[in-house]
Amino acid sequence: MRQTMRQTLRQTRVLAGATAGLLLLTACSGGGEDVDLDGGGDGASGAGAEASGPVLRAAIGGEPDQLDPNKTSSYFSFQVLENVFDTLVEPDENLDMQPALAESWETSDDGLTWTFHLRDDVTFHDGSEFTADDVVYSFDRIVDEELSPSWRFGAVEDITAVDDRTVEITVSQPSPNLLSSLGGFKGLAIVEQANVESGDITTAPVGTGPFSVADYTSGESIDLVANPDYWGGAPEIGGVTYTFISEGATAIAALQGGEIDWTDSVPVQQLEQIQGDEAVETGVVPSNDYWYVALNEKREPWDDVRARQAVAYAIDREAIIQAVSFGTATPNQLAIPQESSWFTEYDQYSTDVDRAKGLLAEAGVTSATVDFLATSEYPETVTAAQIIADNLAPLGITVNIRTVDFATWLAEQGEGNFDAFMLSWLGNIDPDDFYYAQHHSTGGSNYQGYANPEVDRLLDAARTETDTAARKDLYAQAATTIADEASYIYLYNPSVIQAWSPQLEGYTARSDRAIRFRDVTLAE
């Protein structure tokens, strides 16, 4: 349920709740049954009086904190901005990177210089022309002001505009993940300098995307109108009106009552019933977020790989998934979900108590106590901890669940004051994001203290391997070893759950939670 924010920061993992706002509720909207572009919600809009198609009414779970794509970390903001801004490249449904504002690119033989060729038919919503300078401005802004996506530019040394249509990026080492770093989500959106400098970008952003922001009424709605000059072709629908409904039951009632056309505010406990309703379409897709348990390898007995494996064999993933998600999540023993082209088949750990006991005996462990760090910020950690405690009891392992607020949680994790914890990582696309910081012995988020020179070698090699097949193979080896040695005990990928009206066609729920309305049609 905490689908809140899609955090894109690799180091920030779930952290978000704290800063971003989201929360678990989702939304529903309220909008309007009589929303039309020039009248609808409030007299102020009217920008799209000439737009022709019907307006899609979407209810999201909460209100954006701001509409500056480079600054916000709130998923509610990105639900809107996905349709307003473009990136240089962008992920398709399988999260492979495809051309967007850049129509092609090539890398130098040494892999250190990337040349991007920009489309020449792109204008911003205010009519000004999009050029290479806008790309340089946007990326420099993120790096210079240390905005939240700035870590993605870690390997980038220089960004220059060769001419109006060409951008050259030099990197310190071959960086096969550069495309997903530069286009993985709309936090890397290309913004307009004048819009930033006027300060308007926080509430009236100007992008190059399929829709422009026509009106924003705080607390009530955000109205987008179709961009007739969109480089990818003008959308068929006339616009999108977003309303904010955090209560799932209200959103579903609004959808069933024809007041809205789309929502991701879906109460999971009602999912089966909603799926049986012919008046509602649902999309349930495993996300590329994942939840895991980590054991502190700087403490006994968890420094012994057999003790960690024993825990991995004792855990009942299905029971955890039922408890935290009403069975909507997908069990996974690695981080990357099946929908991704980086998926690796792996199912080493079936629940096997005898095997767990055997491994513990081999490790010489007869009893143990686990200080399990959980946080009320993410209630699934508390729920899952209770099941894990129950799973481990037959092994003679006593789990003491310590539930703290998230600030304390982070501090305890940072100082290594735990035997075990459970948390998630959100919004990753490239396998480097999934594995390097978490499992490399020098990784910034390797709080569990895992160190394996072979895994370090694989991760380092994969990071700079430019042949995709070879790279995939390196990550498969690294990930398999990581799971075999239970550096993380992977649990599941939560699902993206959305519902919409049968009148809405051409929409697909995506595993990266991007909400794209540019190609949809809406029967009137």
């Binding site: 704290a18 009530e220 955090s246 209200t250």
Partner: protein
């Protein structure tokens, strides 16, 4: 003399309110000091530099002595400066004012609904103590008190909005923009808060009427042959007005203070939902501002109620 005594009475009440307000400010100020964790760290998230930390700490004044922080907080608050939201970077005072009309709409309509239900039901019940109709009112109002407001809201959405399709399930339209849409949208949330308040108020009204109707002067009025309607109107209801006013004021102030759950259920963009979002986002300046505004509205409503007391019952201003 009447005017003077009312003024003196109100003067005392205003002074009293000022003391309460100062107490509220102490509590609101302490809120940030008492939360677990460092508010600056919470605002910054996990990735930040020491310079950013020091800058925000200095900017929010958290590096100054407590007393100095408090005095500047009070000074700013009195001049309408409630700080800046962590989450949106907008002025807290402006954000609160934007949300006020939605909540005021909801509260006023809700209280009117509550009065329309509770006055007749409570008076009837009080005058017919022990009869079947009294028992019915008591059972129904007890049930009403026990119903959680979010559940009643969901029920109304399910039945009236999705089931019958009579009214929209959620959303808000300002009354100035489209009074008809405003009324259609305020109906269900106002009915939800109104019915819950009505259940509570009915019981107070009944008790107040019951007490008065046993008073000696009512018996005298009856025994001297006054018609029942005159006894009820002039003697019973008028004397029962004080407790009725009190409970009405409390209910109004409560709804104004943000019926958080009802606003969330109906996606109503009022103070309650704003507060809910602020708490979820750990937006301390906004939480502080919202709590302070609620306290001020509570005090204002009570002042008005006090003033009405002295109009309704001259004995009050002398005491």
């Amino acid at each position: 003399m009447t005017a003077g005594s009312i003024a003196r009475f109100l003067g005392r009440r205003v002074a009293h309110s000022a003391v309460v307000l100062l107490g509220v400010m102490v509590v609101v100020f302490a809120l940030v000091q008492l939360v677990p964790g460092d508010p600056v760290r919470i605002a910054l998230g996990t990735r930040y530099t020491q310079e950013a930390y020091d800058a925000l700490r200095a900017a929010s004044g958290l590096d100054r002595p407590l007393l100095e922080q408090f005095l500047s907080y009070v000074g700013n608050a009195l001049t309408g400066d409630l700080g800046v939201s962590f989450r949106t970077g907008e002025a807290v005072a402006g954000t609160l004012l934007e949300r006020l009309p939605a909540t005021v709409s909801l509260a006023l309509v809700g209280v009117v609904i509550a009065l329309v239900v509770a006055l007749p039901a409570g008076i009837w019940s009080g005058l017919h103590e022990g009869r079947v109709s009294d028992a019915v009112v008591r059972v129904v109002s007890q049930a009403g008190v026990s119903v959680p407001d979010f559940w009643l809201g969901m029920l109304l959405i399910t039945v009236v909005a999705s089931g019958l399709g009579w009214l929209p399930s959620s959303g808000y339209v300002p009354i100035a923009e489209d009074p008809v849409q405003w009324a259609r949208r305020v109906a269900l949330p106002a009915l939800t808060v109104g019915l819950v308040a009505a259940a509570i108020m009915t019981r107070y009204v009944r008790t107040a009427v019951l007490e008065v109707s046993h008073a000696g002067y009512v018996r005298t009025a009856r025994s001297k042959g006054l018609p029942a309607s005159v006894v009820t109107g002039r003697h019973v209801v008028r004397n029962a007005l004080i407790p009725i006013l009190t409970i009405t004021g409390i209910q109004l102030a409560t709804i104004l203070g943000g019926v958080i759950v009802v606003e969330v259920v109906f996606a109503w963009p009022g103070l309650g939902r704003l507060t809910y979002d602020a708490v979820a986002a750990r937006d301390y300046p906004l939480i502080q501002g919202a709590v302070l505004l609620m306290a001020v509205m509570f005090l204002l409503v009570n002042l008005v109620v006090d003033a009405l007391y002295s109009v309704v019952d001259p004995r009050i201003r002398l005491s």
